[in-house]
C-alpha cells in the first residue's frame, strides 16, 4: 500500500521553524528600537557600515580641524592686532617727522622728537618680537628664535625665515599661518632695501642737536615712513583676508558637520516609526501563527475518538 502521509513530526518541525523565525525577527526589531542603532554588526549592511566608518572618520577629522581653525583664527587676530598697533605707531612717527620738517620747530623741539622717535623704535622692536599665546614668535616664520635681533651697533636685522607652515583646517584646505616679519618691516625705499627700524633710527639720529639741516633730513625720511606704513597696511590686509577665509571655512565646516550627522543618522539610526510598525506587523503574524498552530495541532483523530 502506498500513500502520502503527513508526518506529525514534520508538521511540528515546520511550525516550530516558522514560529522561531518570527520570534527571531521580533527580537531583532526590539533590539533596534531599544538601542536606537540599526546596524550592530557590519555584516548586517556591509555598504552602510563602510559608509558609516567613513563618516565617523570625517567627523573626527572635522573636530580636530575645527580646533585647528579656531587656533589659527586666534593667532591671526593676535597678529592683526600687532600689525595695526605697528601701523598706528608708524603714523605717529610720520606726524613727528612732518613736525620736525617744519622750520618753526626749534632744535629743542627736534631733540624731543628724536627722543620720542627712538622710544617708538624701541616699541616697534618689541612689537616685531611679539609672541603668540602659546609662546612662539609671531613674525619669525617657522624659526624658533626671536624674529628680529639688534646688533651691537644698534642695527636691527631679521632673524626668522620666510617659511610659513600651513595648517589643515578643512579636508583639502591648508591655510598659511600669519605672515613673516620681513614682509611687514622690510621694504624698498626708492629702490634701496630698508626697514622700519632703520628709517626710525636714522631719522632719530638726524634730529639730534648739532646735525646739519635736520628739517631736510626729516622731509627725506617721510618717503621711508610712507613705505613702512604702506607695508604694514598691506600686511594687515593680507591677515584680514586670511581671517575672513578661516571664517568662511569654519562656516562651511559647521554645515558639513550637520550634513555628516544627518547622514550618520539616516544610515545608522533606527527609523522608529518604521521599526514600530514592522514590530506590530510581526507581532500580529506571530500571534496568528500561534493561534493557527494550536488549532491545527488539536485537529487530531485522537481527540475525536472516545
Amino acid at each position: 500500500m502506498s500513500f502520502v502521509s503527513n508526518a506529525t513530526g514534520a508538521f511540528y518541525e515546520r511550525s516550530l521553524g516558522q514560529l522561531s523565525e518570527l520570534r527571531g525577527s521580533l527580537e531583532g526589531l526590539q533590539n533596534q528600537i531599544s538601542t536606537g542603532v540599526r546596524i550592530s554588526r557590519g555584516s548586517e549592511d556591509p555598504a552602510a557600515a563602510s559608509r558609516l566608518r567613513t563618516l565617523a572618520r570625517t567627523e573626527r577629522l572635522s573636530e580636530v580641524q575645527a580646533d585647528n581653525a579656531d587656533k589659527l583664527a586666534r593667532d591671526l587676530e593676535e597678529a592683526s592686532d600687532s600689525v595695526s598697533a605697528v601701523a598706528n605707531l608708524l603714523s605717529r612717527a610720520r606726524e613727528l617727522a612732518i613736525l620736525a620738517a617744519n622750520d618753526p620747530t626749534g632744535a629743542n623741539g627736534r631733540a624731543a622728537i628724536a627722543e620720542e622717535l627712538s622710544q617708538l623704535e624701541e616699541e616697534l622692536f618689541d612689537r616685531a618680537n611679539a609672541r603668540t599665546l602659546t609662546g612662539e614668535p609671531q613674525f619669525a616664520g617657522t624659526a624658533a628664535g626671536p624674529a628680529f635681533i639688534r646688533a651691537a651697533d644698534g642695527t636691527v636685522s631679521y632673524n626668522g625665515n620666510t617659511d610659513l607652515a600651513t595648517v589643515s583646517i578643512a579636508p583639502g584646505t591648508a591655510l598659511e599661518r600669519g605672515i613673516t616679519g620681513d614682509q611687514i618691516f622690510q621694504f624698498d625705499v626708492n629702490g634701496t632695501p630698508s626697514s622700519a627700524f632703520a628709517v626710525l633710527s636714522n631719522l632719530s639720529a638726524a634730529l639730534q642737536p648739532g646735525t646739519t639741516d635736520p628739517a631736510a633730513a626729516a622731509r627725506a625720511a617721510i618717503d621711508g615712513l610712507d613705505a613702512a606704513i604702506e607695508s604694514s597696511t598691506r600686511s594687515q590686509t593680507v591677515i584680514g583676508t586670511r581671517l575672513a577665509w578661516v571664517e568662511v571655512v569654519q562656516d562651511n565646516q559647521t554645515d558639513r558637520a550637520l550634513t555628516v550627522a544627518e547622514q550618520q543618522s539616516e544610515l545608522g539610526d533606527t527609523d522608529l516609526g518604521e521599526a514600530v510598525a514592522r514590530l506590530q506587523q510581526t507581532l500580529a503574524a506571530l500571534e496568528a501563527s500561534q493561534l493557527s498552530f494550536t488549532r491545527v495541532a488539536n485537529l487530531t483523530l485522537f481527540s475525536a475518538l472516545r
Binding site: N6, T8, P46, A56, N68, T142, A144, A165, L301
Partner: protein, 446 residues
C-alpha cells in the same frame, strides 16, 4: 468440522493484536526523529495437500516492515551536510568579524590621523606631542589586540574542527559495529529494524560533520565514502567491518589539511568543510592585518626619517616590529616626533613633514583605507554567506520534511489504523464465537 475456523480466527486475532502493538509502537515513537515507521507484513496461510482442495489456515506474520527510502535519505543527508558546512563557515567568519570590529582597529587609526592633524595646529605644544605619542602607543596596542582576538577566533574554529572530526570518527566506528550486527540479525525482525534505525541515525550525524556518500547492500549494510571536493570517488571511511579514521594537520598559517588513513583528502561538505573554509578565510584576513600593521610601521618610520624632531635631530623610527603581532612603539618622548622638515633647526614650528605624515596615514592606499576594505570585504562575505545559509536551510528543511513524510509517523493515520484494527479484532473474536456456537450446536445433538 469447525477446526480450521478456530485456527483462522486465532491467527487473525493474533495478527491483529500484533498489528495493534506496531501501531502503539509507532505512536510511542511519533516524536523520535531517528525512528522509521514500522508496518506488520502479513501473508495468507493456506495448507495445500496434493490432489485435494486446499485448506484455509488464516494469516501468518511475515515480519516487521520498516519504511525507508534511500534517495530521499541521501538528499536529506547531503542538504543537511551542505547546511552544516555553511553554518560552520558562518560561525567562524562571525567570530572573525567580532574580533576585527570589536578591536576598534579602524577607530584607532582614525584617532591617530586626527591627533597628528591636531598637532599641525600647534606643533610645539608638549601636551599635543605627548597625546600623539600616546595615540601611536594605543594604535600599536590596538593592532596587537586585533591580532590576539583573531588568533582566539582561529583557536575556536580549530577546536570546533577537532570536535567535529572526533565525532565523525566515533560515528565511523559505530557504523562498522552496526554493519557487523546487521550481519548477525535475522531478517524481518524487530532487532533488524532497530539496527537500521541506528544506522540511519549514525549516517545523519556523520554527514553533518563530514559530507559522505553511502551505499547499501541487500541486507542494509552500509559502505561510506567521503564526499570529496575534487569530485572523484572519495576515500572509503567504512568498508564493511573495517574503518579508516580521518585525521587533520594544522598548517603554519592555522589552516587545516585532512587525510584518511594517510591519503590527503578535501572534504566538500559537512561542518569540517565549513571550518576549513573559515580557517582559510582567517589566514587571508591575518595576512591583510599584517599588511596593515606593516603599512603603519613603514609609513610612520619613513615619515620620521624624512623629518627633524623638536631638537633639530633627524627623526628616529616611531614603531618597531614587522607585523601585527610584533608592532610596538619605539619612541620614548613626544619631542622625538619629527614634525618639521629634515634640516630644520631646533624648535621649528614647520609642520610640512607632519602634514605629509598625516596624509600618508589617511591616503587612499593607506592603512585606514585598507582597514575599511578589509572590514567591508569581511562583512560582505558574511552577508553573502548568510543569504546562502538561509537558502540552504530552506532546502534542508524541505528535504527533512520530505523524509519525515516518507518515514515518519502520522498520528492521524495511526488513529485510523487503531480504529480499523480494533474492529478487525472484534470481527476475529466474532468468528471465534461463531466457531464455538457451531461446535456447541454439534455437541448438543443427541
Amino acid at each position: 468440522m469447525p477446526g480450521p475456523l478456530f485456527q483462522i480466527a486465532r491467527t487473525g486475532a493474533a495478527a491483529t493484536r500484533a498489528s495493534l502493538e506496531v501501531v502503539a509502537q509507532n505512536i510511542a515513537n511519533a516524536s523520535n526523529p531517528d525512528y522509521s515507521r514500522r508496518t506488520l507484513e502479513l501473508r495468507e496461510l493456506v495448507g495445500v495437500t496434493p490432489g485435494r482442495r486446499g485448506v484455509l489456515n488464516g494469516v501468518r506474520i511475515e515480519g516487521i516492515g520498516r519504511a525507508s527510502t534511500e534517495i530521499v535519505q541521501q538528499q536529506a543527508r547531503s542538504s543537511a551536510a551542505e547546511l552544516a558546512r555553511a553554518e560552520a563557515e558562518l560561525t567562524g567568519l562571525r567570530d572573525t568579524e567580532l574580533a576585527l570590529e570589536q578591536s576598534n582597529l579602524f577607530e584607532g587609526l582614525v584617532e591617530f590621523e586626527a591627533v597628528l592633524t591636531q598637532l599641525e595646529g600647534n606643533p610645539l605644544e608638549p601636551v599635543l606631542r605627548t597625546n600623539a605619542l600616546e595615540s601611536a602607543r594605543q594604535l600599536a596596542g590596538t593592532i596587537q589586540f586585533a591580532n590576539t582576538t583573531l588568533d582566539t577566533a582561529r583557536g575556536q574554529v580549530q577546536e570546533a574542527a577537532t570536535v567535529s572530526l572526533d565525532e565523525a570518527n566515533l560515528q565511523i566506528e559505530e557504523l562498522a559495529r552496526i554493519n557487523r550486527n546487521i550481519s548477525n540479525a535475522r531478517s524481518g525482525t524487530v532487532g533488524e529494524a532497530a539496527l537500521l534505525d541506528a544506522r540511519d541515525a549514525a549516517l545523519r550525524i556523520l554527514s553533518q560533520q563530514i559530507g559522505i556518500i553511502a551505499s547499501f547492500d541487500d541486507r542494509g549494510r552500509v559502505n561510506v565514502r567521503l564526499d570529496d571536493a575534487s569530485g572523484g570517488p572519495g576515500a572509503l571511511l567504512v568498508d564493511g567491518f573495517t574503518t579508516s579514521a580521518s585525521n587533520s594537520t594544522t598548517n603554519a598559517d592555522g589552516t587545516l589539511s585532512f587525510d584518511v588513513g594517510g591519503v590527503a583528502v578535501d572534504p566538500a561538505r559537512g561542518a569540517i568543510a565549513g571550518q576549513a573554509a573559515a580557517l582559510d578565510a582567517q589566514a587571508d584576513f591575518q595576512t591583510q592585518l599584517d599588511d596593515i600593521a606593516a603599512q603603519v610601521i613603514a609609513r610612520s618610520n619613513a615619515a620620521q626619517a624624512s623629518g627633524a624632531d623638536q631638537d633639530g635631530n633627524a627623526g628616529q623610527p616611531l614603531f618597531a616590529g614587522t607585523d601585527a603581532s610584533t608592532i610596538t612603539l619605539a619612541l620614548i618622548s613626544g619631542r622625538q616626533l619629527a614634525t618639521a622638515l629634515l634640516g630644520s633647526p631646533a624648535g621649528s614650528t614647520n609642520t610640512t613633514n607632519l602634514a605629509s605624515f598625516a596624509a600618508s596615514i589617511g591616503a587612499d592606499d593607506g592603512p585606514i583605507a585598507t582597514t575599511d576594505t578589509l572590514l567591508l570585504s569581511l562583512s560582505s562575505r558574511i552577508s553573502a554567506q548568510d543569504v546562502t545559509r538561509t537558502g540552504l536551510a530552506a532546502i534542508a528543511q524541505n528535504a527533512e520534511a520530505t523524509l519525515l513524510t516518507e518515514t515518519g509517523v502520522d498520528l492521524d493515520t495511526e488513529a485510523a489504523n487503531l480504529v480499523r484494527l480494533q474492529q478487525a479484532f472484534e470481527a476475529n473474536s466474532r468468528v471465534l464465537q461463531v466457531a464455538t456456537e457451531i461446535f456447541d450446536t454439534l455437541l448438543a445433538i443427541r
